[in-house]
Symmetry: C2
Subunit: 290 residues, 2 copies
């Protein structure tokens, strides 16, 4: 997996010298990946995304790859890049090789929340002018950016298959489920690690109930999870995840394969380590290389 | 965590042009890390190691870091580099920032096994001239290389603390436990993910029994694990790990904190994803930033 790359001609001559004198040689370790800045007309700003792709070798030179679109790229892109690389290695091979697109944030609350709201985690209005909750409610435009600008860019520049996954944590988990409910055609599989269902007095939980018709058809995969996330006496995350899980059971949606995992030994911030791994294993549990 | 680095002057001019025309800009994503080639006098060969280190910023500019020495660097270095980075982030912070040294293989069986043996996993001699088991028995020299050449190099060139961890998988797990038994002073904590106790008719299991005196003092931490690894009817890994675990219970070694984890849902090759994470959490479970 390592790329030995001596980064300039001076280093190359140095390497030869150093070997001659039996001293250590140093070079920089790299991982295949691009940093792309997209000037979004929809969001009226530049958006930075990280793109990791499988190394090309004789075994995959003509292959095209599924794409995992990940929110909070600055937090979990390296994790997913590493998981998808390792788990698709020839001697592990429990998932296919994959392209990972990590979308980094500009105004996170704006992009990942579905409604304009100043109601905080405790159900109380946060009226502060500089509240971290402001601005909010831009998730529809963010999804439009992904659909109309990001996905076309990735499809034009990388060897993509049509199979796409959308994954996020916390507000990113909320956005993932909001996308499944409002734009289900965008992705084939959805991952919501500790979705912030508390947003706007459980807006997305209520939307789930309104949107999913009992016995309807929705050929998707969905993984969702929570951890030990109690703040004071409240453990809203767990209560809401249990509600969401039983809603899905009651609705008996045809074709929707879903898995719920609870990680009582993990915190809100350590949970993604286990949850993103389990989500990949769940999505590809029936996968066999053809 | 990302480094935006435009890799040559042409790319830099391109970037400016491209921004002007509102087209995407691409640059290469990097992760801090070195590839070092050490000309070993002990092993009479060049050894390639990968070295990952925390990014320096205002919060850690004067800090020195523990070092994790990892066998099979080509397989699990990226995983450990990513875990130690993520788990030590300011908003996760369940372990300290760390340097990870991944030792890649030349002759893996030679370096990681403690005895010359042609007895295979099934307890039968493998007499083939080209057997993958040959050569074997060089673990003492490999440990000497680490002690006398690698550790001094890392200490001289990176901001190290004295706290050191030794970690390996399969033959690497065997080597980790062999080091604990024969050179316990080398490391403060040892990780053995599915150690190949089957080697040479359970040589290291017998060595454990001979070496560890009941009630002796050994201030170390030790994590060991196995997964679903049955080959045919035999599941030697699990049987041997259970034996090792009860040996440690019986010996009541003072100061030795040990944890055993069994991962029935994982295979020999997927186990490291969970086991290396759990090992880091175990080793640093009482850690608090000072």
């Amino acid at each position: 997996m390592a790329n030995i790359r001596l980064h300039n001609p001076f280093m190359k001559s140095l390497a030869v010298l150093v070997l001659f004198f039996s001293l250590p040689v140093r070079a920089q370790k790299t991982m295949p990946g691009d940093v792309v800045i997209i000037a979004s007309k929809i969001l009226h700003e530049n958006r930075t995304v990280y793109i990791h792709y499988p190394k090309t070798d004789s075994s995959n030179v003509n292959k095209r790859f599924p794409v995992l679109y990940l929110m909070d790229g600055e937090s979990h892109f390296d994790m997913l890049a590493q998981y998808t690389d390792y788990l698709s290695r020839w001697d592990v091979k429990v998932i296919p090789q994959m392209i990972v697109v990590g979308i980094t944030n500009t105004k996170r609350t704006r992009d990942l929340t579905p409604t304009v709201s100043i109601i905080n985690y405790f159900g109380k209005p946060d009226t502060s002018a500089v509240s971290w909750m402001k601005p909010s409610g831009g998730n529809a435009e963010f999804l439009q950016f992904i659909q109309e600008e990001l996905i076309p860019y990735v499809d034009a520049n990388y060897k993509t298959q049509s199979y796409k996954i959308f994954a996020g944590h916390s507000f990113g988990g909320l956005a993932s489920i909001n996308c499944l409910l409002t734009q289900p055609a965008m992705f084939d599989a959805y991952v919501a690690v500790s979705p912030s269902f508390w947003w706007d007095r459980e807006y997305v939980l209520k939307l789930t109930d309104r949107t999913l018709q009992k016995g309807a058809l929705l050929n998707k995969k969905l993984f969702y999870s929570d951890a030990s996330e109690g703040i004071s006496d409240s453990s809203t995350f767990h209560t809401n995840l249990l509600k969401f899980d039983s809603l899905l059971s009651v609705k008996k949606i045809k074709g929707l394969e879903h898995e719920y995992k609870y990680y009582p030994a993990e915190s809100h911030m350590t949970e993604p380590v286990s949850a993103y791994y389990d989500a990949l294993r769940f999505i590809f549990r029936d996968w066999k290389e053809n």
